[in-house]
Amino acid sequence: MSAAILKDAQSSSQASPPMDSAELGETLVEIRDLEKRFSLSGDFLEQLTFEKGRLRRKQEYVHAINGVTLDVKRGEALCVVGESGCGKSTVARTVMGLLKPSGGEVRFDGTRIDNMAPRDLLPYRRRMQMIFQNPYASLNPRMTIQQTLEEPLRFHQPTLKDGEVRDKIEEVMRSVGIDPDWGKRFAHEFSGGQRQRISIARALAVDPEFIVADEPISALDVSIQAQVLNLMMEAQEQRNLTYLFITHDLAVVEHFGTRVAVMYLGTLCELADTRSLFARPRHPYTQALMSAIPRLHDDKPNHIRLEGEVPTPVNLPSGCVFHGRCPHANQRCRTEIPRLIATDTGQVACHAVEEGRID
């Protein structure tokens, strides 16, 4: 009986295949050789240590992003995947201007934004918005929903009259499935999924073009994840949005993404359109990642076993960051950092692929 229901469900759901990457338009966001380091050393006084009888200055950094180059094309949903410590959240925050890059640049619609003064950046703020991971911390506990949603709108469009603001907020609340009558309530009166809807409403209220979503559904229950993901897909269609979607859940990526970028220890390993990546992952890390997803039809765990542990981003391995765990590593991998090379499906940074050692 359930098979019949399944078939029914699939046939009646609106099926619009994900954007074919060949149809992608112009570049909206450019990330060039992005680098970000965080200092672990504290202030000047804490950096001084006594070693071997001499006063030395020790500086330790967490190398969160190490040279990432990426383009986000208008209208697509570019997913960035990776495990914890790979730097994907840092990339999201740097693109949005919450962090200043240590190197490289970020461009939006052709203009460089990472070094802009806050006042000049203001019009761009309206066009770029962000959705965060933790629904329980994304909304100010002391503000009503109405206030939370109205504030950005009034800030960016001060000429709007009160009535117009109210109407706009009501419309955006309805579009995310929240009853506008609940505007006077506070965040803690809503469930996790509803709070995430409200966060999405806040992002949509200013009519942005580009939304960075940092693991927006990871903290939600499975059935609620489906609701929120559907909402995001609808919003994309209705408002012609471009997404940069950060996640660790490859199943979501397969469903939602146009192209996928796989990151490991702050480096871009592979970039390809979704279908190709899942059909034929090239980079050894991508292959291991894919095999690790627990599938429903599996009888037992069956994955590519990686050696060793994830190294710390404080002392990066030499050469390719993945060489310590890679089953195909050779001497060149230990010394030389691989650059992104073009393949028929996208880009890969791997010596073994370049040399044709793995297919």
Binding site: E83, V222, S223, L229, L289, P294, L296, P301
Partner: protein, 350 residues
């Protein structure tokens, strides 16, 4: 006789807003060496079930009814001292966050030796030897070094392995694992689940795996319980449930996975959300969200119907199995609301 028997367990929490019925009439068994999965979303009561087995529910929670029997002995009325000799010794537990489970100011070795000495009369030297042996069993590299390290010096995956080693220290009969891999990356998750499976098979240790991830359950467990709003709504062999779920909630849960939808199309979602446990709807708790709800679903709590090797708590399945007609209340054009008025949904269940 099953190793662990839970019969009609009823657990409640006396809260300011009302009484939360965390578990309602929950029953299941676990044979020696069997691997059972408990699946559900947050609020379903799966963690509460695990904690209750080990009598870790504290005020304002209390067991309002039912019993738990382990190896013939009734657990829920056991005196605290007797219960202590069961916890960690014969039934051990693994929690979700490895960083919070390990004491940050004690070395790994101290924590393991402390655990051993709490239950056995052995010297520190012997305890250390056993600890070393267990660390080897979970494939920790250079275990002697690890014994003198602190938790923060180790990665998440290693910590979880150590916790599994601690759980196995006293050769328990059952391990209860409460979302052991939710906080871990997917590659580490795969390793940990494989390790757990291997160890349970090798030492014939029973496993109760609590998770929301159906894929993990599919890989590791032999039988599964699906919980919703404090009740078991479906139970049976894992393969059967995954391949051919009968209860509309389980079906909805499986269908909502991105794996099950066509890429680019909308995901199949279940409307609404789980009710708050202080205001459980009358009849079947799932009825406000169920497309197949009929009048009986609003009034009567469903008993278990047998369908294949599974037990399903659903009136519709019951009717189907008996070969009777089933008429759900028609949904309107928007698919909104299977009932004519809203009042029914928020009545407190008796």
């Amino acid at each position: 006789m099953a190793l662990l028997e839970v019969n009609n367990l009823d657990v409640r929490f006396a809260m300011r807003g009302g009484e939360v019925r965390a578990l309602r009439d929950v029953s299941f068994t676990l044979e020696r060496g069997e691997r059972l999965g408990i699946v559900g979303e947050s609020g379903a009561g799966k963690s509460v079930a695990a904690f209750t087995i080990l009598n870790l529910i504290a005020k304002p929670g209390y067991i309002a009814g039912g019993e738990i029997k382990f190896d013939g002995e009734v657990l829920n009325t056991l005196k605290p001292k007797a219960m202590q000799s069961i916890r960690g010794n014969r039934i051990s537990m693994i929690f979700q966050d490895p960083m919070m489970t390990l004491n940050p100011v004690l070395t790994i070795g101290e924590q393991m030796i402390e655990c051993l000495k709490a239950h056995r009369r052995i010297s520190r030297k012997d305890a250390r030897a056993i600890a070393l042996h267990k660390l080897n069993q979970v494939f920790i590299p250079s275990p002697e070094k690890r014994l003198d390290q602190y938790p923060h010096e180790l990665s998440g995956g290693m910590r979880q392995r150590i916790i599994i080693a601690i759980a196995l220290l006293l050769d328990p009969d059952i391990i209860v694992a409460d979302e052991p891999t939710t906080a871990l990356d997917v590659t580490i998750q795969a390793e940990i689940m494989e390790l757990l499976l291997l160890l349970c098979e090798k030492h014939n240790v029973g496993l109760i795996l609590i998770t929301h991830d159906l894929g993990v359950v599919s890989q590791v467990t032999q039988r599964t319980l699906v919980m919703y709003a404090g009740r078991v709504i479906e139970q049976g062999p894992t393969r059967e449930i995954i391949n051919d779920a009968q209860h509309p909630y389980t079906q909805g849960l499986i269908n909502a996975l991105p794996q099950m939808a066509t890429p680019g199309s909308r995901l199949n979602q279940i409307r609404g959300s789980m009710p708050t446990l202080t205001k459980i709807p009358a009849g079947c708790a799932f009825n406000p969200r169920c497309d197949f709800a009929a009048n009986i679903c609003l009034e009567k709590v469903p008993a278990f119907a047998h369908s294949g090797n599974c037990k399903v708590a659903c009136h519709m399945v019951d009717a189907m199995v008996a070969g009777e007609r089933w008429t759900p209340i028609i949904t309107d054009a928007n698919g909104n609301g299977a009932t004519p008025t809203d009042n029914h949904r928020t009545e407190v269940n008796t």
